[in-house]
Amino acid sequence: MNNYLDSFSLKLSIIALRAALLSMAVVSVAYAGEAADEASAAELVKPISQIEIGGTYINNKNWKYGEYNGLDDKSTYGIANIDVRGGAAYDSGETGRWSFKASDLALDTRKMSAEFGRQGKFRINLGYDQFVKNGNGDYQTPYITNGTNNFVLPSGWVKPMQLNVTPITGGANVPLASWVGGSSTPDAYNTRALSSNFVNNDLLWRYNSSGVSAIAACVAGTLTYAKCGPVERLLPSSASGSNYLQTMLNAAATDTALFHNVKIDTQRRKYDAGIVFNIENQWDITGSISHEDKTGTRLQEFVPNGEKDILLPIDMDQSHDQFNLALNFTGDQSFFKAAYYGSVFTQNNKVVTFVNPDLGLVNGADITPPSNQMHEARFTGGYNFTPSTKLVGEFSYGRNTQNDAFLRTSLIASGYLPENSLHGEVINKTAYLKLTAKPIKDLNVSAGYKYDDRNNQTPVKTFAQMDIDTVNSVLTTNTAAALYNNALHTAGLIPLTDVINTGSTGVNIWQNRAYSKTSHRVNLDADYLIVQGNAVKVGYDFETIDRHCNDSWVSCADAERTNENTVRAEYRNTMIDNVTAKIGYAFSVRNAQGYNPDAFLALTPTANLVPNQALVNTGGYSLYSFLQSVKSLGITAYGPSLGWPTGLSSSAAPIAAGVAAATIDGDPNNALYAAVKSWKAIYPTLTTNQAIALTTFMGPGGQITAATYYANGQNLMQMPGQQMPYVGDRDRNKVRASTNWQATDRLTLTGGIDFNLDNFKKTTVGLQDSKSYAINLDSTFAFNDKVSTSAYYSYSSQRQNMTFDNYGTNAGTAIAGGTAANTNTDSMIGGCYADIVARAQSAKIDPCNQWGTSIHDQNNTLGFNLLTKGLLTPKLDLGGDLLFTWAKTSQDFTGVIAVTSPLTTTNSGSSGATAWTTAYIPMQALPDVNTRIVTLKLNGKYAVDKRSTVRVGYTYQHLTSSDWFYESLQAGNTPTGILPTNEKAPSYNVHSVGAAYIYSF
């Protein structure tokens, strides 16, 4: 018999499944009753109850070890598990039985369940399940809470500041002859100062008084890097500089002392109840209800203003209620089910307020995810036309709503809200049909169809809001924003009273997008048994997905339709004795129809409006109508498709009052004359109005943008020719192969390969391809009936290749060998063009600015298991698991990157000094991220007598991670706007020992 082989192969994966204590606590109770050896028949047929009491000691405190199991402290934890069962005996005329189970009662992961009923009549179950998730235990913040989610800074907080070190000689990028401190008091917010050793960071990196000669020596290679590089710092040589430096030192000392640890953990507590009730022989009612509270503390990023970031430990108070009710009919040839599902998410802590650590501004406010509901009716039915021909159908209708009040408090600065809440509504409809049949012997076929519609009926409105709502933000009239205001009002998008408000600095005008999606999917399958032991299966899938937005003024979908065809083939072989094998291949082609690089425009209603002609001349065009009109010229997208004409400065802002085209053409003194002439020289077919519009709509980076006159508008675009991978054209290959060889009665070997290759064949930038494969090898071997072992090894590799284009502005920034004045005729080192002008005229898409990256994840997993049952004495079972996991993420690059370095100086600076300029250097690999996990588990179980068992266990787990993610979170290492959190990569060694007594009755 091979029963024990089956059992042993299962044991192998136990190694992966539980933290040591939990595996001790839970599993033994569940299966101690299965110890069949020497068990009497009477013991096997009656319900066995067990109670387990014990304890375990954890020798080290670590949040990651206790991330999900709650064992995050150095402490002794109790083991308390209960499994009691009762009710009618199997051979009685009664069907009533009950059970009560509880596990981990002494831990934060406790679980209880009770079930009772009369089998065939009704069953009721009740449950409680608690779940903990620990966050990074090293997290620190200076913030303290003043009430629920109201974060303030301690009274001693001093704004961290950048030392004001204005060069006193030379121009920008010219090495200082001597650093003497700034000419004004320090004031720039800079979190890099939050370090006791900040004097070692870049805040003071400058070049010494012998800079010119030293740098020349660097270029000649006669000095070492320590002298040449930016690590050499300069201490102030003046009294004022020393004062500033002392100010910073004091501030750093004060602020760093205010950072304190906050425990980050969330708790889920779920209460549930269910019932199954048999109305009569063929009709049942089933129902369940669950309520889950989620409380605790989680980290969420907030942006006070600009590129600043604070990570705050917000208090959570939310709940999720779910309801199920179903009426079921089970017939001889058919079944039917009518069901209701409800899901109600309730957010109790809706608002988070915080003080801005840059004390020039006061408060910010943000929100947590809003409450929402979903209610669904579902009907399922099936009918057997013949014993082998069956039709199953399922239909559902669901309504998902969300209507929490918008955050409209005094913390919101100027802005227009068309509604007080979203009135969000999504209607989900699905239909599913599947027919299965066996038309001839050994041939099974099936055909399926699925319709899935997410219809987002949320009203689409125009919102004029600041990107960052900060009290005391000074609102000033923004002429550029005002360009659209009258048009917005005329279009009925905002009321007249808000025209003025939306003409303020930092106010953006957006429309929400109600994303909808409709899919149709067809599946056809045929499975044919060629000869006994040889079967082949072929299949075809077709799926079409339409994406759209209701009420959007322009298509919002990145691809309005994707069609995907898949063919599949699989061969299964059991012909060779003791060997089973199968191999399958699937190939899919997905095509995006109407890929839409302009989808972002749905967010910007201003693109469809003609600006105020009294303020700016666009030739009478809206941005969108203009783009439509010039597509014939090859201007096909909103990306950096155009360069500036020769001689036309990118800073020549073409804003001018409306002037007739004829006037401009005939007036060389007109502000737009030169620009129009230049554009016409490039595109002779342009009309004057088109040339005017082109000049007007050209963004600061040379790109055409819908929101040129609104902050960051260009950030919405994408490169011409890019297709986002989730909807882009794609070829997909999948191979699955596996074999199982039962070599002997005691030895089983299995192996398998999974291979996937996605090729995004048409996109110019972004994800190009993704390739992954996994190899899995397993073996189980039983020495005898008492000793067995198993081992497995898995290797997986996933590589993603991406390309990008770092197109830039027309500003001549990347110059080496040029002058300090950065004239546009400067030559470039490392670029593909001789000078800036040439690059600008080539649409700024410099091939030498193209770059790529390859991300490679590799994972090795090796597991061993040894299990003995009654080896030393019939009463003693021993087991052990050992697991090694190595994970490595490496990331290589191709291309060059512009860096500012004294190593690229020239002697042609206009000031006469050697210029510290910019040059291209090769992009280089990021540090590998290595993770090592070693787990050893030893378990022993000794049966004292038929009722008493003692269980002991030991677990060791070791984890190290070299994740550089955490490096920039440390005080002094952060970017200038990010408050440090001092979170560290997890690393630990944890030992645990435990013992428990099990009483069975």
Partner: protein, 349 residues
């Protein structure tokens, strides 16, 4: 409500129900007339007599317990639906009688499991025949098996007994803490993925495969319990369901556009590390910045560079870039799952 209060309330509820129903006196409430699904004591006795044909040999000495089926729902003989041994294994007359007196008896009519071959005592029973035995009762039952026929597992000849141990006191695949090891017998790539540094809490026994998948067949992809990936995720992550004022199209489309649910080297269950994950889609002038070991980290493994024919050590980065390190893009665009804030069009509110 405090935890202790809730637990106390739950205990009272349990206790009240159990006490009022007379469970501890072995008296269960009768919620109506006796069901047609219950049988008389004589019928119970008859069924056990049929079982005895088998259990006189297959007794407590079996390596894998057979008799413990009487502790399970399949062993409640007073339920008219409860099978006898013959209901599932067939009458197996040849096996029982062993007319030829061979040392190894002929096979029972139906054997359950995936193994076969000369190393087995008996040939493997065809999958269809095994499953038909189970489906005698379970085929049309309205519930989790509605879509079994033609499903991924059924069409690959996976038998019920490949996962279920109906004789066991506790079927492993029906217990949250042990279910994954059953699934991982075949799904070994997923087994390895759950050992990565970022995972769902399967190891801790707080989540099981069937929280997301229904192996008996569903209308959703990958045997997910709901119609779509997102609907499945929302059963636990309902706060991300919305609808929200400003939605992120790939998020509403499919959570797996960014996440890989079985395990990842990048927390939280991400397919790649930001900012590179974000750059797969975002190529605008703000997002297309170059990040590499040459300029992004303080301790990048930078190598020397050559400028104008002169070799220099790479300068590295004096100041890490805000959108390249740490949480990268998410440093500012934190609400990447969507925002309901009027200022949240770019997910920084």
């Amino acid at each position: 409500m405090k935890l202790t209060t809730k637990i106390a309330a739950l205990c009272l509820m349990f206790g009240g129900l159990l006490t009022s129903s007379g469970i501890f006196a072995a008296e269960l409430p009768d919620l109506g007339e006796s069901s047609v699904r219950t049988v008389t004591q004589s019928a119970v006795t008859d069924s056990l007599k049929k079982d005895a044909v088998c259990t006189k040999c297959h007794d407590e000495s079996e390596v894998k317990p057979v008799l413990s089926i009487y502790q399970t729902k399949h062993g409640v003989k007073a339920d008219s639906r409860t099978p006898s041994c013959q209901s599932c294994h067939g009458d197996s007359d040849a096996h029982v009688k062993n007319a030829d007196g061979k040392a190894t008896r002929p096979s029972p009519d139906v054997l359950f499991g995936m193994k076969s071959g000369s190393n087995s005592s008996f040939p493997r029973t065809a999958s269809s025949k095994q499953n038909a035995s189970c489906q005698t009762c379970h085929a049309n039952a309205a519930g989790k098996r509605n879509h079994w026929t033609g499903s991924q597992h059924e069409s690959r000849n996976i038998v019920c007994a490949a996962c279920h141990e109906v004789h066991a006191r506790q079927d492993k695949v029906l217990a949250k803490t042990t279910q994954p090891e059953v699934c991982f017998n075949c799904h070994k790539t997923q087994r390895a993925e759950t050992h990565r540094i970022s995972t769902h809490p399967l190891d801790a026994g707080k989540m099981s495969c069937s929280d997301c998948h229904n192996p008996h067949g569903t209308t959703g992809p990958k045997l997910l319990i709901k119609d779509s990936v997102n609907a499945t995720c929302y059963t636990c992550h309902a706060e991300k369901r919305g609808p929200l004022l400003f939605e992120h199209q790939p998020v509403t489309d499919d959570c797996t556009n960014c996440h890989t649910p079985h395990g990842s080297n990048t927390t939280p269950l991400l397919k790649a590390r930001p900012p590179f994950l974000c750059q797969e889609c975002h190529s605008n002038q703000h997002a297309n910045a170059k990040f590499s070991g040459s300029n992004m980290t303080l301790s990048g493994n930078a190598t020397n560079i050559i400028v104008n024919g002169v070799t220099y050590q790479a300068p590295g980065s004096a100041t890490p870039t805000t959108n390249g390190v740490g949480r990268a893009c998410l440093n500012c665009h934190a609400l990447v799952h969507g925002s309901n804030h009027p200022s949240g069009a770019k997910f920084n509110r």
